[in-house]
Symmetry: C2
Subunit: 513 residues, 2 copies
């Protein structure tokens, strides 16, 4: 059989040749959109590779991006990865100080930034002398350091793919919601195989006829692989820029006839609230794929009913490229379950010491994972991130049902120790979150002189609901000493940079006792 | 990222762990079926590996199979491939003499044969002294050389997958309809990537909820990859044994609630004729995937109307593992088109000398192909099967339309030279085949003293139709000198061992002039 290196440039090559008019569409702020076909996008990405070569970027060098989901960001991605350099995506919701620490660690040579993030980018540049050059994209008006004039004056003659498939292509730091951020290096091979996995009919099932809205950010965990999957099949890739509020998304979905939306639950809450307020409908939308955080059953039902879509739940991690499990389309949707692993991902439940549980079904354990797109070693670390048998400990607690469906039951680090016994906040959150009035619920431990820690409940609600009504469903469902000591109403639940509930902030503000 | 070798044993490991009760079902002759879950099938396949080890089979050794599509054949496949040996599938429709030549070339050490093929297997054994042992499967009654007692007395403790992903896993000889049979070696990596490709939503889109009927034989081109794809997603794999007549297939589809059927057009003709005769319906069947031969538009319409299914056309070759293009489900079905290539397959049209045509769309050319599951070199050959740029010349003539759909327009070797000019029989066959009365049509060249060759038409029809009615639609559609000189009615079109029209036999019987 022929030699065929699994490198990501092949996805854009294929799209340019076989779906040249397949589009990448970027929402403009204030309305309207920019659009480009895959053939033209490839031509521009090749020019960007030449620009980077001209700036001294070589194979294996890191190039950082600080940008929203946009056509220009996709072009820069393929330019960096196609030439064999490594795309280090930076999360604009972190502080300049945090980002400086990351680019110093990665030794990035060039920084690419969206125009509105240029001030932050310059702050990073001033403190990270290893970065030789700033390139600004996504600018609506002339500005300093623009990439665009350099593209115009360069020829599309870069050579892509001239390296091993095991070469690194990307670098992303974990969100740090549960610990210090650590770098995860993706390879061409791992991301290629991840793409083929999510394209399966039983996973994300993205087809050339789909218009896929990637609300999940490209700056975190590769936007769940969509910027690779869409060109691989020639699907229309719809990018929201930085506007991910309900009204902006509704406008974009309607204008671009989006069929599949992908994002964290809070994004869809915003969309549903907007539609409920305006009475608008989005008939093109068929499916929503959620992940990144547990889905409250009430929110799931509200989304399915109001939008007339099927919700597919999923579970993943930065360390998993990021997809771990997805609920197949034919399965009945259940908010509590996160779907099953497709071939290439394997799951194991262990005890707290990492020993495999004798039974793997219908019991709770510590979740470990293994596979073609699962981390072996964090960036810059000498020791593996896996155990001796090659399993990566996720830090999640989980059950797997008889049909193989994964249910994340908590984070080991979120567990609350009260009177020497463990309380799992996720179980309490699931019960309270099932109430129709509850949009978001979080349980954290508060310092307690007598018990060490005691659980408290923080909720974002819609409509009137008493403390007693919030806690009543817990009686008989969890042990009586698990019931939170206090309830706090928040106008807006604080969210971390990835859209997950920011428990670190909640603990800082409410956990002191 | 973690090391993860792309080896085929992983598909069955995944099925056994995540879909242990997913079934492989084999039709029994005379009715009824045998069934087994993937977990039990894996256990048995591991035992077969141990049996083969006990017979001295080592990594890289060839083990030949001469068998119908059955559970036992699937077990033997995974046993051979899982341990790193090479499964050399033999086509029972060839002669013992032809098969002896093949196993002598492959140096097979063991031969596994279905019980009803044991006499042929013994004939091969007598003339191929390299084969040390015969193992008989699929036996309804006690018989000599049975594998079953050896399975029962062995433990499932073989080690699978302990070899490089580039190791060979299978060997299949081309059908020889257009030349001497040549061996094609598949590797674990190429077949693994082929499987991930066909599982895409835009290709075969097989889901864990499907029941897939593999009428395409395992002895040729891996039954189009279905014995790998079904366990990879946990789909039910339904195997017809040797009975592929319309009545047997109808019974099996109804009993097993088959959702997707895969086979050559003539198989579905038999099914439709049976249903038309009996008035039966098959409500579970949703899709039929055809390939291996062009689909007459009339037959396609008959199938879609009578069965209430969507037909997906496709194109492939033994040398392509075998899938090349498949019509995505969302596309309107058109008999003349064979679908588009998914990423991992690329197509090129050249002139007769192999130079790329300047235009690649809406022109006819010689088809070349490149990809991860495309042949590099025939078994035992020193020279590559590809050109200097790595393209494999298929021998097919083809057009590609503006949307990237492939249309095979003929075989270069089938072209008829009349008066120094070329006639393409496939174009004539397409016009005549579109008549509702025509089930199968073939045009071959007959020796002619004056013109060198002249085309003649051979047809299998249903209902009355005059010669003139058969030829009339050609007028104005093809040059007047392309119109066949004679029409022959055949009660049954001769089919080659793979179900394609046997043009070699037609030329022998009718081409002499």
């Amino acid at each position: 059989m022929q030699a065929f290196a699994l490198t990501l440039d092949k996805f854009l090559d294929h799209a340019a040749k076989w779906r040249p008019n397949g589009q990448v569409v970027t929402a403009r702020e204030g309305g309207g959109a920019d659009r480009i076909g895959y053939a033209d996008l490839r031509d521009r990405a090749l020019r960007v590779s030449s620009v980077l070569e001209g700036l001294g970027v070589e194979k294996g060098d890191r190039v950082a991006t600080l940008a929203w989901n946009s056509q220009a960001h996709v072009e820069v991605w393929f330019a960096i990865m196609g030439m064999g350099a490594v795309c280090h995506t930076l999360n604009p919701r972190l502080t300049a100080e945090q980002l400086v620490a990351m680019v110093v660690q990665s030794e990035a040579k060039v920084l690419v930034a969206s125009a509105d993030l240029a001030p932050m980018a310059r702050e990073i540049l001033a403190r990270a002398p290893g970065i030789a050059r700033l390139l600004v994209i996504d600018a609506a008006a002339p500005a300093e350091d623009l990439l665009e004039p350099l593209i115009a004056s360069t020829r599309p003659d870069a050579i892509w793919g001239d390296f091993a498939e095991t070469a690194p292509c990307g670098l992303c730091f974990t969100s740090g919601t549960t610990g210090a951020p650590k770098g995860v290096t993706y390879t061409h091979r791992s991301s290629y195989l991840h793409t083929l996995r999510i394209l399966q009919a039983d996973v994300m099932a993205i087809s050339g006829g789909d218009a896929v809205l990637a609300v999940v950010p490209m700056f975190h965990a590769n936007a769940w692989g969509l910027p690779f999957a869409a060109p691989a099949v020639g699907a229309k890739l719809v990018l929201p820029g930085r506007q991910t509020d309900g009204a902006s998304l509704a406008r974009l979905i309607a204008a671009e006839a989006v069929t599949v939306g992908v994002g964290v639950p809070t994004v869809w809450l915003g969309l549903v609230e907007h539609l409920e307020a305006t009475g608008a409908d989005l008939p093109s939308l068929k499916r929503i794929i959620v992940g990144g955080a547990p889905m409250a059953p009430a929110l799931m039902e509200r989304i399915e009913t109001r939008l007339g879509v099927t919700v597919q739940t999923s579970w993943g991690m930065t360390e998993l490229s990021p997809s771990g499990t997805v609920a197949p389309l034919g399965d009945p949707s259940r908010a509590a379950l996160s779907g099953r692993p497709a071939v290439g991902v394997d799951l194991l439940l262990t005890d707290a010491d990492g020993l495999a549980l004798p039974e793997q079904r219908e019991v709770e354990g510590h979740l470990r994972v293994r596979g073609a797109a699962v981390i072996q070693r964090y960036f810059g670390h000498d020791t593996p991130a896996t155990d001796a048998d090659g399993w990566f400990p996720t830090g999640d607690l989980a059950r797997i049902d008889a049909d193989g469906n994964l249910m994340i039951t908590g984070r080991a680090k979120d567990l609350i120790k009260s009177g020497g016994e463990w309380i799992n906040p996720a179980e309490i959150e699931a019960v309270v979150g099932a109430l129709p009035e509850v949009s978001l619920a979080a349980v954290i431990g508060r310092s307690d002189a007598k018990w060490g820690e005691r659980p408290i409940l923080l909720v974002e609600t819609q409509g009137e609901v008493s403390d007693e009504a919030l806690l009543a469903p817990l009686r008989g469902r969890v042990a009586s000493w698990w019931i939170p000591d206090a309830v706090y109403r928040l106008a807006r639940m604080p969210l971390a940079s990835t859209g997950k509930i920011d428990k670190i902030r909640l603990r800082t503000e409410y956990g002191g006792g």
